[in-house]
Symmetry: D2
Subunit: 372 residues, 4 copies
């Protein structure tokens, strides 16, 4: 096993100084080994994943590995300097409002064109041909990403950041994007057809997402391969390969804990172990895991402005009609409108709540994995 | 003519104090008169339109009018208190990055349903029936807007703001949304089929947009009616009515000028005059007007970070290859990389440029109405 | 007992809408009763005090009171709308950086002038005269505050806010300014000569401050009276009266908890009880209390930038040399500079730490009440 | 003449990447030549000085110089990445509100101690000794700056930045700190005893400041030397040496113009020429120059909130009582309170006004160099 690193230049500040991201390459020594890509902190305040990659880099030398790793522990040089009072405002471009996690490249027509180019090929039905299709399609994906920066009109900052990261991630067979929520319990976004795989991360809550692009890296990574597979299946070609991709939410933002990061790492290693990519990893105590379809993962937006006490905490099970928050209205402290109750519209598990007591109309108060 | 006003409550601050928007109603005294809706400053730093509405309210009593007005001079109580240093950060929700001008309600299926409900109706081909269709469809649109706030899960802050404004605008036959650019010349977004009408605003640059929803009020206002018209036409029903809607960009943000506002008002009155809605308005000196299709209205994103001198100003005509900006890189002041040139990728008219010399990779440097 | 409220107009937004603060007056029915002034949330994100005032207003009717109250539960209409990402940026004016809690009015020369005006007065040495001196001096203080807004050049926004609040607080014999820290344990700033009194709030940590003005409301409230007392003492006049003023820090910002607010209220009522101002208040379990002089209350500024794990939490006792934090440097994850340790320069009690893991050089990491 | 540069590391971002400032050294080849220190953009949005240093570095090789230069064209790596919407929020630390230009080190007791250490020295009255006193005092100043970072509790971010810059500036005989105002005409802050010298910069407006420290670099640079001179004079020692220091305000923020920067450079070179430091510089057309004492340089704070039209522009001469601004109040557009007039409280020259039409109570509307 060999660990190398490079500083990938990605940005300059207005003085002209180049700013980059550290990229760690862990090489297992086997040329045809699969590749695992893990990044953290594309939303800059979501730092726990950086601690997890630290633990991983420290621990990997103790394991036997059958895979190469590309590890990017702090992948957003734009967001990580953007302060908002005492916190980081790292979720979106402070100039445009563009979410740093919504501008990955995805072009459905690329899949169609690639499928068209295959049709009529004599070797298409030859199983031995799968590897060639995989490498050709990956090349096509890589090229379409590269082409993004070639136009003379340029691309916006979020596209530029996402493009740079995606040009690394496109090389991988497994893509893990480490995030956190605001005040949040651990949860994971998994493609619906990979939910059984996702359970091996040992994270209590799985949000199962359909094969539909909404801008994120996990979607940009797995969807083209899934569509390719479905397209080939439709013409009778068996094609097993797919990129697996997950967004893993490691608790709350603005916070790191190395002890917990070690536990988080164990879950990732357990997943890798079941995929045959590492051996010798530490045992885990299996959690009970709940799976919720994305359509049942609901956001409760506040109908009031005021100061909110969150009675239901991240991870709590709540019932329909249960009072989950109370809102103080300081103009009505002398009557019973001074304290309003907010009730859960459904039973389910509280995944996260807003990180501040100061709430306006339309603030995202809670996200709840509701019972279908 | 009668002018009344109300303070429409729209928000509370976290102390519980209600915050609203002033709405002025100008009534011409005729029951069946059409309605003109004009709002300003949904992007809170874009204030020139407020001055235009001030001039309009001052000037209207001197005219003869055949229309009612709903005028909302400062329509965003969320944005107008959000400071960012010495400026207003009023373009998007500071918490979520949601653009205040992208969450208007539009539901294409509503048009289809409405068309389906009409089919088979005996009176459909009766020309006298157009007024009834108009009022029924307006009712359906109004109801779908009202329904937005009824769900128990709520809606986000931008949706809430847009919903409240749209519930006023839906009543109107003509909708004008007053904005500004960053460092910008005057320009107007017009539905492509209304370009000849749009010229009567006497604004030099028209961006002609297709019938495609991207979240803004003008689109949300005219598209359903246009689709209705097309749908009826497809089944052989002649239907003339449509809502006209425009986004008017009145120069640069963070600035008001009452003298210029008077000129801006004259353009609006000229438009209203040609529509038969006002008479007695002041003469204008007709400008030369350029029309550019949206697909030819291009954004030049910076490929460098640095301190930028904008050589081409808003309103300038530029040639392909012309140096339109220079970028200082303070790390290279001792060599010829200290000052880089940025060239225009196309000939055209500079509509706007970024309002600050401090630029990062991917910053929107210029928007240029290019020659096709 | 009678509770009345008013909405004191204090601000307008740029649309012109007036914005105010709710002020509650609790009248005990005795004309000569002393007055207690309590305000909360001058730093807008420090909201727990608002919950305490809610509990107080709910609970006071159950008590017997010998004092009037002026209660201002949410006293900063400028700060409470200023968002910074998902948090409130309510500590300082977003335009100027002026701390909302540093522009209270204090003019030492006023005391001198007042003392000079008294000298030679025959009745000065008459003990019965104390009440007259008190009311004359209060009048002089009130007038000097009122005069602030009379100048034609105006005053800045923070001065304006502070002036409005101080014009209420100057009427009081006891002033309590409710704040919180970032990630903080409860603590209280007490004038050094009132430390024994301050213990009756039952808050574990007292910071004892000298008679020196640094801009805050507590200082502006007690210092003039203390200097008056000392000045009179110097000429042989016994003068017992003084305004008592405290800044009470109720845990962490961005958070409210009504259950804890009830406990916080009990401490305040206990204090009021020992001052003879309320009876019938609930019992408290007395805490061990540590007093630290301001000069021994030290700030540890970070010497590194990076992602910080706070090992010592608010309220913890630490030893000199103890590792209290660890800093991750993501460029050095492959060597032993990837995780740096920060040690406490002194033994003492951790009062608060920075609320985010994202730290730059010079960030205020910890505040520690050190052993002298 | 030899130009060298270094990248002085000053900061890290939270990923651990080092960020620095470019420092250019221009050496004239004479060992005992004086030193000129020029920095720009300590308030990061004030960028015109960076363009001036660019022009200076380009132009210096054409001149004959008798001085060394230390040039820091972009001296604030903390501020220059801090965005606030489309602008830079570079005036103060986004976390603390600390103004980046108010934490330079100044310790009056150092002068007293140094003077005490000289007393009784036999050679004190020997004129030839002046050079030794200068070098000893500069050493003492340097050491006191260096000592700032040695404490185990650290210093805050603004102190840290200021300390690093001051450790360069302390070496210089002439210190020029390049700033801009918000919407501003050119002006210069000069020590009152150097006003005749300051005129040679050829900037129309001079603000004459007393020998009183308020945190800025110019004050921190010249005051110790002035006090030393005065202290020596008091004991009958003639001492001619002093550091000259100026803050030069080059128009408006958020903007650079290279053509104007060339003119700005000519003024600086003219000053240097009169000091005997350069020859061969381009001719200037001498401006009429007005000198205003700091106490007559007044700020007009707004008494209203609203949308402001600035009728008086930077550089305009205004009369007492002249309407210099108008405020729109969108709640009163139907009556004569819809447009309020703001009058100048004094005659004088408008030096700058606020850069946005959006104003709250207490906003710094105008700064006016009033007639005494």
């Amino acid at each position: 096993m060999k660990i190398t690193k490079e500083l990938l230049t990605l940005n300059q500040d207005i003085a002209g100084q180049e700013i980059g991201i550290p990229v760690y390459y862990v090489n297992c020594g086997k040329d045809d080994a699969p590749t695992v890509y893990i990044q953290s902190a594309v939303h800059a305040a979501e730092m726990q994943g950086s601690a997890v990659i630290f633990q991983l880099l420290t621990f990997l030398p103790k394991l036997s590995i059958n895979t190469n790793f590309i590890l990017v522990p702090n992948c957003n040089p734009f967001g990580r300097t953007q302060r908002a009072g005492e916190y980081l405002q790292g979720r979106f471009d402070a100039t445009t409002g563009n979410n740093w996690n919504r501008f990955y490249h995805y072009d459905e027509s690329l899949v169609t064109k690639f499928l068209n180019s295959l049709e009529g090929s004599e070797s298409l039905y030859d199983k031995a041909n799968e590897n060639k299709i995989v490498s050709d399609f990956r090349l096509a994906l890589s090229k379409s990403i590269e082409d993004l920066t070639k136009g003379e009109w340029g691309i916006n900052t979020a596209q530029y950041l996402n493009h740079k990261l995606q040009s690394l991630a496109v090389k991988a067979d497994l893509v893990i994007d480490l995030h956190t929520g605001p005040s949040s319990t651990r949860h994971i976004y998994s493609p619906d057809f990979l939910v059984e795989h996702a359970k091996r991360f040992n994270i209590e809550n799985i949000i199962s997402i359909p094969c539909k692009f909404a801008g994120a890296l996990d979607e940009a990574s797995f969807i083209p391969w899934r569509l390719l597979q479905q397209g080939l299946c439709a013409i009778g070609v068996e094609f097993k390969y797919g990129v697996k991709a997950f967004t893993v939410e490691l608790g709350s933002q603005e916070n790191i804990c190395l002890t917990q990061a070690y536990e988080d790492m164990k879950g990732i290693l357990n997943f890798l172990n079941t995929e045959g990519l590492v051996t010798g990893n530490p045992k885990i105590d299996a959690n009970d895991i709940t799976v919720t379809a994305l359509k049942n993962y609901k956001t409760l937006f506040s109908k009031y402005a005021g100061m909110v006490e969150y009675l239901a905490k991240a991870g709590d099970k709540v019932e329909k009609g249960q009072t989950i928050a109370r809102v103080l209205n300081s103009l009505e402290f002398d009557n019973d409108r001074g304290l309003l109750e907010i009730k859960s519209p459904s039973s389910g598990i509280v995944i996260l709540h807003y990180p501040s007591a100061a709430v306006q109309v339309g603030t995202q108060l809670y996200k709840i994995a509701t019972d279908a």
